[in-house]
Structure formats: C-alpha cells, structure tokens
C-alpha cells in the first residue's frame, strides 16, 4: 500500500517535471543578465525592458491578436451555422459527404492544409488578380478555414445532446423559425459557441505551420517572429517573451478555474433551492 503510494507519487513527480522543468528553466533564464542563453550571468530584468521597447514584437503581437479575433469570430459564425445544420437536418442529400468533409480537416496534417491553401491563393491570384499578394488577408482566410471545423464539431455535439423539444415548444408558442433560433437555440448552445470561439482563437494565436505557408513579406505574426528569431539562436528576450506568454496563459487557466468553481457552487445552491421547493 505504502509502497505503491510512493511509486505513484514518484511517477507523478516525473510527469510534472517532464513538462514543467523546461518551462521553469526558461523562466529562470529570462532573468539572466548574460547575453548567452545558456550561461548564467546573474539576475536581471533588462530583457523585459528590451522586449518592451522592441517595436517588432509589439507589432507582431497586435497582428496576431487582430488575425485571431477576426478569424475566430468569422469561423465561429460559419462553424455554428454548419454545426446547427448538421445536427438538425439529418436527412438532406449529401449529408454523409458533408459531415465527412467537415471533420476531415481535423485529422488532416497541417502541412497539407497549408500547402493547399497556398496553392489555392496563388491560383486565385493568377486568375482573378486577388489576392494580389499574400499577407494579412490570406493568413486570416486560412485560419478561418481550418479553425471553423473545430467550432462546427463542438456546436454539433452540443446540438445533438440538446433537447429538440424546447425548439418545438417555442415554435408551438408562436415563434417563427428565426425567432426560435434567436430566442432558444442560440442561448442554449451559447456555452458551446463560446468555447468554440476560444478554441479557434487559441489555434489561430499559436499557429506556425499554416501561417508560414500563407503569409507574405511584412506580415509576421508572433509565433512566426519567435520561430524566425529562434532559428538564429535563442536569445534571453525570447525567454522573457515566452515567460510573459506562460504568465498570461496561467492567469487565464486560473480565471477559468475560479469561474468554474463559482458555477459549481451556484449549481449546488440551485439544487438546494429545488430541493426546498419540494418540501
């Protein structure tokens, strides 16, 4: 008993270490005074200063955020529509093909998606003259294309588990189909839509491969910037940047945890209310 406990704890320790030691060392080295990434030269925060005064990083971050917001929002709108359609119209012609087409990109290697997007944009440029060059627009379009399927999948599974009867009830009470969508369907699946948006946003924020294929000169997103800098050797300001990203992600996870905890407590209170209403 005792023995297996120790064993399990050791395993757990290794597991965590495996994941977090690299991150920790990166954080520690972001406070390195030395210019050499691998030699400790004393504590310093100067790289954060360098980072903040680096216009290139600021520009890349803004660009990434812009692309992520636009692409995830568009992908959410398109993906939600596709998800609802797939869940509701179960018998339209070509449904199997359509749902296959929707889920295929989930398992398609990113390189393939990237190359095909690139070729598509080049062809479009040749025959239509648009897009003239690759850059912001093409990256955003590519991001929409491949993050949409994630939204679709999430929304579709939420729709399938939702009670069909509440939509019928609304219709029965005089709501036309678009009113049913606005008043009932969308509010009920809104948590799924939100998580779809968050997923699309994150995917867009940290995508390197597809962006690499579809971007052009002057359009450097944050992941691309980091990637190209690291190719020239890891510098401490990259460590600082990565540390800030880790910090942001950590705060988000913490906030989500607190939010979930609160929702859990609210649900508990509701259960007690319902129970007391029974008395």
């Amino acid at each position: 008993m005792k023995r297996s406990n120790t064993f399990l704890l050791t395993m757990l320790g290794f597991g965590f270490a495996f994941f977090y030691v690299p991150i920790l060392s990166m954080i520690v080295y972001s406070f390195n005074a030395s210019r050499l990434a691998t030699v400790w030269g004393g504590f310093s925060t100067k790289w954060y200063g360098t980072l903040l005064s680096n216009a290139q990083v600021g520009k890349a971050l803004t660009l990434s955020l812009e692309i992520a917001v636009i692409s995830s929002t568009t992908a959410t709108i398109l993906g939600t529509m596709a998800g609802i359609a797939l869940a509701r119209f179960t018998t339209f012609r070509g449904r199997t093909l359509f749902s296959g087409l929707v889920t295929a990109p989930l398992i398609m290697p990113e390189v393939i998606t990237g190359i095909s997007s690139l070729i598509f944009f080049i062809l479009l440029g040749q025959y239509l003259g648009w897009p003239a060059a690759r850059g912001f627009t093409t990256v955003t379009l590519a991001h929409i294309t491949f993050s949409m399927v994630f939204v679709t999948t999430i929304v579709q599974s939420r729709m399938l588990s939702a009670d069909r009867a509440i939509e019928e009830a609304a219709m029965d009470l005089g709501a036309k189909p678009w009113q049913v969508l606005r008043d009932v369907t969308l509010p009920v699946i809104s948590p799924a839509i939100l998580s779809g948006w968050l997923l699309a946003f994150t995917i867009s924020m940290d995508d390197v491969v597809i962006t690499n294929f579809t971007t052009g000169p002057g359009t450097t997103t944050l992941p691309i910037l980091i990637w190209s800098k690291v190719k020239l050797g890891v510098t401490p300001d990259i460590n600082a940047l990565a540390t800030l990203i880790v910090l942001t992600v950590g705060l988000c996870v913490l906030a989500a945890g607190v939010g979930m905890n609160r929702a859990e407590r609210r649900a508990e209170r509701d259960r007690r209310l319902a129970y007391r209403a029974n008395q």
Partner: protein, 363 residues
Amino acid sequence: MTEPLVRIEGVSKSFGSFQAVKNVSLQIEKGEIFSLLGGSGCGKTTLLRMLAGFEAPTQGRIFIDGVDMAAVPPWERPVHMMFQSYALFPHMTVEKNIGYGLKHDAMSNAGRQARVREMLELVQLTPFATRKPHQISGGQRQRVALARALARQPKLLLLDEPLAALDKKLREHTQFELMSIQERTGVTFIVVTHDQEEAMTLSDRIAVMDQGVVRQVGRPGAVYEFPNSKFVANFLGSINAFDAKVTAIGEQISVDVPALGQTVIARAVAGVSVGQSLTMALRPEKITIHRAPVEGANVLAGGVKDLAYFGKDSLYRVALPSGALVSVHAVNAARASDDERLADWDDKVWLSFDPASVLLLTD
C-alpha cells in the same frame, strides 16, 4: 350538426415503411377532455404531433375549427402542446417561460404582464416567478409547462403524458387540478396517456389505440362496460376471457365454454349467429363469490387457489375442476378477522354472475 373543434379524417402517418398511425378518424368537441389511451409505441405522440403541426400526415386531413391544417405551420395553429418532457426554456425564468408565447401576440406590455400574473396564480406559482426551471421541483415544472401552454388561450391544448413524471400521490392530486383548470378555462384538452386509471378519471371521452389504430371511442363507462374487442377489454381493467361457441339465440344467448365445462347465458347482443366462435369475457368484480351452493344459471364451482388481500378488497383466484382459473374481485364490506374471511385458501366456493355482465367479444 355543429362543426366539432377537431376533425381528423382518415389520417395515416408512415416513417419510411413503418406505419405509426393508420387511418385514424376522430371528432373532438369544444370543451371536452379527450384521452388517447394506448400502450407504448402505439402512435399517440405521433398523432398529437400531427395536430400540433410538427409532423405532416402521410394521408388524410386535419381540421381545427373548420380550417384545414395542411398548410398551416405550427406557429400559426391555435393549438398548444404540453410536452412529455415539459421542454421548459432552461435559460428563462418561470415568468419568462410563461410569457414567451405572449411575445408573439399583438398585446401591450401591461396586458402581457397581467396575463402572466394571472397564469402564475392559476397554477399557484407566484412565489417562484423569478426562479429558473432547474431551481424548482418536478411538480412545479409541470405546472409551469401547463401555464405556458395556457397563457395564449389556445383553442386546443395537447398534453403528452402530462403526469408521467410525477410520483403517485402528486399525480392523483394533479389530475384533479388539471380537471378544475380545464373547467375554469374552458379549453379543449387532448390528453395522451398509457395509464388507464388516469384516462378514466380525467376524460369525458377516451380513444383506445393499438398499433396505430383507434380500436374504440366512447365515454369511460361505455368503453369499460361495453368494450368492442378483447384488446380493449383487457387494456381497460382486467378480464377473465375464454373461448366460446354460440349454441342458441333467443331472449338470451347461450354459449358453450369448454374451459368452464358448461354453458353460459349472456344478454342478447346484435351481430352474433349460432355456431359462431367468439370470446366470452367476465370482469373479476362482476362475479360474486359464495361459500354455499347457489341455484340458477351461470354458477361455477371451484376451489380457492390464491388469495390477495388489498384491504378494501381482495382478489381470489378460483380453480375450476376443468383446470381453468377465474379471478374474482370482492369488496371486503364486512370487517372480518383472518379466520372469518369470506373464503380462504383451498376453500370450496361457488361463483355466480349475471347474464348482463357477460361480454361476448367477436374481435
């Protein structure tokens, strides 16, 4: 003749090759509580859904208030439905749920609020107006669903197993509540149920369904006492049924019942002929049990094989010499201790019944 509120004419519904509803014709009058009674999967919900407009009949027509409903979408029908699962909007409060239908009516805000308050009072949920559906109990949810369906003053209210999710005590209480609400509002109810007692208690008329077909329509008493088939007799209450053959027709009808080893006399009915094979059926409560031999026709002798004591009544299973078992339901009218009971295990008893109680079923 005045036009009935609902006229269903030869309606059938197929899902692929499966026929869920077969050639149903019904007329439902204004102000009635009409029950659709039948076993699981017999097409009750499908019929309701066609009335509400969620399914289109494969064949036949439905008229509500004289208007052909074929081209009328669900949101324009003067019909509201109370769903089996209640289908309350989870993200809206009780009062928003109840008021939802009113949003689609041309109505002042104040009028709307007054109507919601009125409905809350009707179902006694005023203190819970601002709760969400998951914050109230099952019985209260059922009442919200009812109030929501009634708020727009439909001509017809469809209730799909309205009481199925409630426990026994609450169900009995709610039955009477439903009836009194129906009386006060005057709305016509069509209630789907598979609980025969519920159907008998609630309804003005009952339609018994079996595998998509309506087997019999009538007042509860008529359907119970004069079932037109073995299926209906068995579905409403219980019966002792035996194969029989008509031997003579006069003032009364004589049938030979091999399982009982004797001839049984029944009241004359139309549509039988000598030599015809049919089912002779007797309801257990129509049989009297005696401790001493009795004279006359329709007397059977046997021994008590089983006895179930329910308090207000008892069920006896009497074995006849031929081996047939007859169930007898007797009210325990007199107070008796265990050893002075009407009859006990292995006691010899005599059973008698009136010719008028004998059911001759040809179907």
